[in-house]
């Protein structure tokens, strides 16, 4: 098994854990972290799977850089919303509806 494939398998595991976290965790801060774990998993699959014969491929590397910047932007927006939500309502969890 090549190291690229190991990265891809680890990425699948991280993605599954992160996605489960986004679905299950109530606290907003934890959910944001779970989203980041999920994103990192997808990035690992993108880079690892394309390089599973251990030949570097610059295209997925550049895609992952783009993806990381998008994830940073989404994380910042999520934290800003969560923080304001908490300041207004005093809660760090989303109020449940139907």
């Amino acid at each position: 098994m090549t190291s690229g494939l190991v990265f891809a398998l680890a990425g699948v595991a991280l993605f599954a854990m992160g996605a489960a976290g986004v679905l299950l965790l109530a606290e907003l801060m934890r959910r944001v972290l779970a989203f980041n774990i999920m994103g990192s998993g997808a990035f690992l699959v993108l880079v690892g799977l394309a390089q599973r014969n251990d030949v570097p491929d610059p295209v997925p590397q550049a895609m992952v850089l783009t993806g990381i910047v998008v994830a940073v932007a989404a994380t910042a927006l999520a934290l800003a919303l969560a923080r304001r939500y908490q300041a207004l309502g005093g809660r760090d969890e989303l109020a449940g509806d139907d």
Binding site: L23, L49, A50, G67, A78, L81, Y85
Partner: protein, 477 residues
């Protein structure tokens, strides 16, 4: 500007940034001028398509797989026309809706500009990874619009929306990673000959992840939970933009993938989206019938109307009008739902109450707005000669031609249910109500833009054939 295609992306990016530079709450006329030019560009593009066929554009001058391919065909052009047309009227509406100094208006113009740029870029992209970036552009701009200037409830809705959209695009991105890993390209055109029915199992996963992620973003039942609070809680121009256009962007992408690279895989699961769509029609209509708040009623109606879009998937493989029905439904619902949220916004502005009961007595005071609401209702119910009628007629036609009686029955039942919630509002409007003295006057700009959108949704039925001719340019269906 010889070629309209790249300008449809660069222009909204430019005016969005310019309105950001001008400062909070400013730049409305710049935005409106920008969208007006985009309308002209879209018509030019449509003309080019009808005359010369599909228009490819290799970004950076690099052909795929090295570069990013853009492409305009009939389907993209129809969605572009819908987007610029609705956006122009809603921009005029927003100009009148937001009072000077309104908290929600401080960041409306730059966010709306980036939203439009993202949607145009999405419609024109032919590269799976570039599509991921456009999805995030649209998603984050939409969340920002929902959150702007809102209280705790609105921020809660924005957060729920954000997590749903991030989960959806995360699943999509993992799918893209698997596709690149399997084939070494993300160009839709190059993938077409590579995918067949016996692909590796990882590609099945990719298709499932991408389609499921996009269904979550399109709020298909049972993934609709985030839509009613987000669309029902935002200011009226934002609700209208989101309900009319943004959910259609991810639907468009589902259609692209379904008819394009994943066509050999999709036949196996074609009934699933139709089943979910049927459930969406029934459940969304039921909740709209029961809704207490006016905008929530309109938002639940969106959940129901989106269901129709998914009824076409079992029919789309065979020749017939299924694709035309789906696109016609997307366009007519886009116009009608923008009109309905715009009209609801006028009613709420004047009465100061966002409840169905608060509509009482509106018939006498806001006849034009009520007329707009009723016309939009005609389209949602699918009565002739509206665009909704044409869409549902094509859909029933396609369903009966393939013996799918159940789908035709769902379409008819959905129309009846829509009549119930539309007449619930209209009946209330004609009730006598004690005149509210504190009422604000209704700005004519708001009433007339709502009316124009509603009238367009009805007249669409008369001019539908021209739209369908444009749709057939280079169409995969």
């Amino acid at each position: 500007m010889t070629e309209p295609l790249p300008w449809l992306i660069l222009l909204p990016l430019a005016w969005a940034t310019a309105t950001f530079l001008l400062g909070p709450g400013r730049g409305a006329w710049l935005a409106i001028a920008g969208i007006a030019v985009q309308c002209g560009l879209t018509f030019a593009l449509a003309g080019q398509l009808l005359a010369e066929g599909p228009q490819p554009h290799a970004a950076g001058g690099w052909a795929p797989p090295l570069g990013i391919a853009l492409a305009a065909d009939g389907l993209a052009a129809v969605m572009l026309l819908l987007t610029q047309g609705v956006a122009l009227l809603l921009a005029l509406y927003a100009r009148g809706y937001f009072a000077p100094g309104d908290q929600a208006a401080r960041h409306f113009w730059p966010l709306a500009g980036f939203l439009l740029a993202g949607m145009n870029a999405l419609f024109l992209a032919a590269d799976l990874f570039n599509l991921y970036v456009t999805l995030e552009l649209v998603g984050l701009a939409a969340v920002g619009l929902v959150a702007s200037g809102g209280g705790a409830a609105q921020l809660g809705a924005a957060l729920r929306y954000l997590f749903a959209t991030l989960l959806g695009s995360g699943a999509y991105l993992l799918g893209v990673a698997l596709v690149y890993g399997a084939y070494g390209t993300v160009s839709i055109e190059l993938l077409l000959p590579l995918v067949d029915a016996d692909v590796p199992r990882a590609v099945w996963f990719a298709a499932a992840l991408m389609l499921a992620g996009l269904m979550l973003k399109t709020a298909l039942f049972p993934f609709h939970f985030w839509l009613p609070p987000a669309h029902g809680g935002a200011p009226a121009p934002v609700s209208a933009l989101l309900s009319a256009l943004v959910v259609k962007a991810s639907f468009y992408l589902i259609l692209r993938l379904w008819l394009g690279p994943f066509a050999p895989l999709a036949a196996a699961i074609a009934w699933l989206p139709a089943l979910l769509g049927s459930a969406a029609i029934l459940w969304g209509s039921w909740r709209a019938i029961r809704a207490e708040r006016l905008k929530l009623l309109v938002a639940w109606s969106t959940v129901a109307q989106l269901g129709y879009l998914f009824l076409i998937f079992p029919l789309i493989a065979a020749p017939g009008p299924a694709l035309a029905a789906g696109v016609m439904q997307a366009v007519s619902h886009g116009l009608a739902k923008a009109a309905m949220f715009a009209a609801a916004g006028v009613v709420i502005h004047v009465t100061g109450r966002d409840t169905v009961a608060g509509v009482a007595g509106v018939a006498g005071r806001l006849p034009l707005t009520l007329f707009a609401f009723a016309l939009a209702g005609v389209t949602l119910m699918g009565l002739p000669p509206s665009g909704g009628f044409l869409a549902k007629w094509l859909l029933i036609d396609a369903a009966l031609a393939q013996g799918a009686w159940a789908l035709a029955a769902v379409v008819i039942a959905g129309g009846l249910l829509a009549a119930v919630y539309v007449f619930r509002v209209l009946r209330q409007a004609f009730l006598d109500a004690p005149a509210v003295e504190a009422a604000h006057p209704a700005p004519p700009l708001l009433e007339w833009t709502a009316f124009a959108l509603a009238a367009a949704s009805v007249l669409l039925g008369l001019r539908g054939m021209e739209l369908l001719r444009l749709l057939s340019v280079g169409s995969a269906g």
